[in-house]
Amino acid sequence: MNDEMIVEVRNLTKKFGPANAKSVAVDNISFSIKEGEIVGFLGPNGAGKTTTIQMLLGLVIPTSGTIDIFHKSLFQHREEILSEMNFSSTYTHLPWRLSVFENLYVVALLYSVKNARDKVAEVIKKMNLEEIKDETIDKLSSGWITRVNLARTFLNNPRLILLDEPTASLDPEGADEIRKKILEYRKREKATILWTSHNMAEVEEVCDRVIFLHKGKIIAEDTPRGLAKTIKFCRVSFIIEEKQDEFLRIIAQNKWKAIVSDKFITIELVEEDIPLLIQILAEEEISYSEISIDKPTLEDFFISTARKK
């Protein structure tokens, strides 16, 4: 990764609806993405992620603000910029009566790829799509369709890729394979990626940095670990079969939060209080058979931020 900025968004705002009752989908956001960086774009539904991506693709005209990609204004150099970008979303479909090869060939032509047929054959091979290349899209499973969608994304060797929930609807194994393909491409081509997902573990795994949107505004921006660290609470889980009532009384006295499910008890407390909790258990001779400590994750940050706001 170097320090060259590939994407620079300044004071971007998008309002929809009639002049007297406009709703603000994106509210004066600014951010940059460096070359080779993978940036997670997170936020609850309606946060403005999709609208921002649509503006980055030139599909929606902003109400105000600027978008520079590859140091050029998107509004003045749309075709030039889009020819070096690509986009993949689980929520857009490929024409379902076209075969995999035909679909990819059409996309290659749309991007003016030289020797389009050869390039399509090359991508089909790299993405292990040979066995389904003559099948029409309507005959494929969602796993195969996601792979074809991703193959489509690599056809023009893009320098910038926008991915909208690329692994939604996949089983864990399929999602892992897709992530590997994307990371391989990024490493090989030094590509820059903007990645939206509701899978927080995935974002923690692949993203260098996260931009968190809520109600159209950027409310946090840091590494996944950095954002998770802003959550002070962690969870300690035990299996306690005896003296459960006594234990819960002590928890209440210390104003910790407990979640009880039969013999399983989870305590939510600040990390510094964990030694105190263990000490109390020892002093009161409350025995436990299992203990696990879960540090805060990006998902905790996501849930707590979404609830707070």
Binding site: V60, S83, L98, E102, V106, L109, L110
Partner: protein, 266 residues
């Protein structure tokens, strides 16, 4: 990138719909079926009228010529609108317009595609009319080429208006794609002269390029005469409407990007 047309993108549009066309019975039916039914139905009807009214000359020629020529309006209009609707139905519009394609490349692609399909349906209908009724459309001579050009232009500008309306009003007006063109059908005076229309309808016919073409067709069939004036008026009207319809479509496309309707149509 600032070329007038991105030929690769134009080819992409043509190939995308031709690939689908051969696998989609609906589209094949659109291209051949309805016009063939019209030919058979009106051919039989006019043959029957001719049998019982031998004093009416060239009645079969009038009906079959009118139907085949109207096919140019109807099919060229539909072939402008169906690619847009098809990509919307396939939820492919976002994929499509997130590539470097421009509106003009998309339009050019649909025009080329329309011309390919129109050529196929014209050859097919001409053969059907000849085999069933010994009707030779080429009897109209070079007028046929002038009429074809003008009627295709009519289909294009009607199609551009409908595409603009679809971008503005979404699926609420998708039925326009196969119905709106028939609003000009009665005023086009395909099978009867403009003179028999009521006064207000004659006024409408006078501003429609189609009425001049079909008036000319009847002059050739009944009198063997041909008026360049009608062709020129039709052509001028077409150029005016074509320009206005392209400006309208461009405005609606821009509006759909501003309001987010293009992605909602997806």
């Amino acid at each position: 990138m600032n070329k007038i047309l991105n030929y690769s993108a134009v080819k992409a549009i043509v190939m995308r719909h031709l690939f689908e066309w051969r696998r989609n019975l609906d589209r094949v039916v659109d291209t051949f079926w309805w016009s063939t039914i019209d030919i058979i139905f009106w051919g039989l009807t006019s043959s029957y009228i001719k049998q019982n009214n031998p004093q009416i000359p060239n009645i079969v020629t009038l009906f079959l010529g009118g139907i085949i020529l109207w096919t140019f309006v109807q099919n060229s209009q539909r072939d402008i609108n169906m690619p847009l609707l098809n990509d919307a139905w396939n939820r492919n519009l976002v994929n499509l317009f997130s590539t470097p394609i421009r509106l003009r490349d998309f339009i050019a692609g649909t025009l080329v595609l329309g011309l390919i399909k129109l050529s196929m349906s014209f050859v097919f209908l001409s053969v059907v009319a000849f085999l069933l009724y010994q009707f030779n459309i080429f009897y109209l001579g070079y007028f046929l080429i002038l009429a074809m050009v003008n009627l295709i232009l009519v289909g294009w500008w009607v199609g551009f208006i409908i595409s603009g309306l679809i971008l503005r009003f979404s699926y609420r007006v998708e039925a326009f794609a196969w119905s709106l063109v028939f609003a000009i059908y009665p005023f086009s005076a395909i099978f009867y002269p403009v003179d028999i229309l009521p006064g207000w309808a004659q006024a409408v016919a006078k501003v429609l390029p189609t009425s001049y073409i079909f008036e000319s067709m009847r002059s050739i069939i009944f009198d063997g005469t041909f008026s360049w004036g009608n062709i020129i008026i039709s052509f001028i009207l077409n150029l005016i409407y074509l320009t206005l319809s392209i400006l309208f479509l461009k405005k609606m496309f821009r509006e759909s990007l501003r309001t987010g309707r293009l992605v909602k149509l997806n």
